[in-house]
């Protein structure tokens, strides 16, 4: 009985894990779509994971990034980079998704 309960707990966490995997994968794919299409980050930045080779802004594969710094930069822009949040180009959720995507893909 104890073994069955243990196995059920393992199964429960495994299912939760799989669900989270699928959700995270969807977010990453959404992030890629925003990066390459919606926000067209790829037009200005290089990031190998996204197949991006833009050279206007910094090469994202060569800079140290934190989720906070990327969200801040995407929201408020800098120089020629648009303020995607301030100017309403992306929603707050989209900014979080693309920023997570960048932080987890840059340099890979």
């Amino acid at each position: 009985m104890k073994i069955l309960r243990f196995l059920l707990i393992i199964l429960f966490y495994f299912i939760i894990s799989i669900q989270k995997t699928i959700a995270d994968e969807k977010k990453m794919l959404k992030g890629l779509e925003i990066f390459n299409e919606t926000a067209a980050c790829a037009g200005c930045h290089t990031m190998k994971a996204a197949g991006a080779d833009g050279n206007v802004g910094p090469n994202l594969d060569t800079v140290d990034l934190t989720i906070e710094s990327v969200i801040d930069m995407v929201t408020y822009g800098l120089g020629v980079m648009p303020a995607y949040g301030e100017d309403g180009i992306l929603t707050k959720e989209e900014i979080e998704i693309v920023s997570n995507y960048v932080v987890n893909s840059a340099g890979k």
Binding site: I10, Y13, F14, I16, S17, K20, T21, D24, E25, M28, L29, L32, E33, N36, E37, C44, A49, A50, G51, N55, V56, G57, P58, N59, D61, T62, V63, D64, L65, T66, E68, S69, D72, M73, Y76, L78, G79, V80, P82, N100, V103, N104, S105, A106, G107, K108
Partner: protein, 405 residues
């Protein structure tokens, strides 16, 4: 469309591979590979981006491929900063040889003058010739000392250099065009490095207006420290606005116009404005004149521990748009100050001066600071807080801590 699908699939494969390996280790683990890459310095020869692979990697701190700082200890050992050590700060990609074409055929138009003209570089070279040393300094040099979260490269002291420019005085060019229109208020210089990007010029063109009077000391430069102006520093032709922050020294120069109004591009109206934290707008001062400033280049925390006894404390000092008159040095964190000696030649008011101060130090730890004056203004103790971390010249943040053994 094909490319998008390929990249989506490729990324999906990479992503799934990562998640599979993690899931294999622990069923409950989060699937996203969270570690942040510290892939700095890996792109080009010696860890520098390809377009500046000729620079001295050991002298440089790479913030990004568009922002590269000179180490504090790599400044000031000679009065002039060698090209291989000079910092990089580009708003647009450096133009390539192919994009530039025949350098002697590079064109710059002069407008807002009695007889507007377009000159090739070859024609400019026949028009006049001069050499001048000036300080090139990014508006954000010192941003790394600000404590609020400031976007942009976290420069400490190394977004600055003192270089020799060779070119034609702007005054000579203006005379060749019959003089400046009486109604002009600004000299507005525009680069063409945005053109290959295809971006909207209003957002991407580096066009900067400075007060008209600047033209009297300005020059159009085609050489930097005795060699043709490198593309990475704005070759083949660059505006040099002595005493003014780097952004006004427009690279890849295509036009100089004497205008009644400031340029309306983003780099003039919105960017490079010194505004209070939390505020922004074109009503705030633009990054124009550099303030009086100095910093110690040796010894520093980069140069290691110092032996007790006589210690030569050296550094560089600038007066902004005025000649630097004096530098004082403190070895006790600013409690007491003694005058340092200027050393080396005086290359004019727009160049920096090297200074040296001999101190007799016993073993212990010291906070060493320098304080420059241009006769009418001296460095403040503290930074002027501002939104984007511009124009920092406070002596306290620029001081160094050293250990004497």
């Amino acid at each position: 469309m094909k490319k998008k699908e390929r990249k989506l699939n490729l990324n999906r494969r990479n992503f799934l591979a990562s998640t599979a390996s993690i899931a294999g280790l622990a069923a409950t683990a989060s699937v996203v590979p969270i570690s942040i890459s510290n892939a700095n310095h890996k792109d080009g020869e010696k860890g520098l981006p390809e377009f500046i692979s000729w620079k001295d990697r050991d002298a440089l701190i790479v913030h990004s491929d568009k922002g590269i700082e000179t180490h504090r200890s790599a400044i000031g050992e000679s009065l002039i900063t060698p090209n291989r050590n000079v910092y990089i700060r580009n708003n647009m990609p450096t133009m390539t040889d192919d994009q530039i074409g025949d350098r002697n055929n590079w064109k710059v138009s002069i407008e807002g003058v009695k007889n507007p003209k377009t000159f090739t570089l070859a024609q400019l070279k026949k028009l006049g010739h001069t050499t001048m040393a000036t300080i090139l300094q990014c508006s954000g040099n010192g941003r790394g000392f600000f404590e609020h979260k400031v976007r942009g490269s976290q420069w400490k002291t190394g977004a600055a250099a003192c270089v020799f420019w060779t070119g034609v005085p702007m005054k000579v060019v203006v005379e060749a065009c019959g003089g400046v229109n009486a109604s002009a208020v600004f000299m507005t210089s525009a680069g063409v490095d945005h053109e290959p990007t295809g971006l909207d010029p209003k957002k991407a063109m580096v066009e900067r207006s400075v007060p008209k009077v600047v033209f009297k000391d300005a020059m159009l430069a085609w050489e930097m420290n005795g060699v043709p102006l490198p593309n990475a520093h704005g070759g083949p032709l660059r505006m040099v606005t002595p005493g003014y922050f780097g952004i006004n020294n427009v690279k890849h120069l295509g036009k100089v116009a004497f205008t009644e109004k400031e340029s309306s591009v983003k780099y003039m109206k919105k960017s490079y404005r010194i505004s209070p934290i939390g505020k922004k707008g074109s009503q705030y001062p633009s990054c124009w004149e550099m303030p009086v400033k100095s910093w110690i280049t040796r010894p520093t925390d980069e140069t290691g521990t110092v032996r007790a006894g006589k210690v030569q404390i050296v550094g560089v000092a600038m007066g902004g748009t005025k000649k630097v008159r004096s530098v004082k040095v403190s070895v006790d964190g600013g409690k007491s100050w003694k005058r340092a000696k200027f050393i080396g030649p005086d290359l004019g008011k727009y160049a920096w001066r090297q200074f040296a101060f001999e101190a007799n130090l016993k073993s212990g730890t010291y906070n060493i600071a320098s304080l420059a004056s241009n006769g009418s203004k001296k460095q403040p103790e503290l930074r002027m807080e501002n939104r984007r971390g511009y124009a920092h010249n406070g002596w306290k943040d620029h001081s160094v801590n050293i250990t004497v053994v």
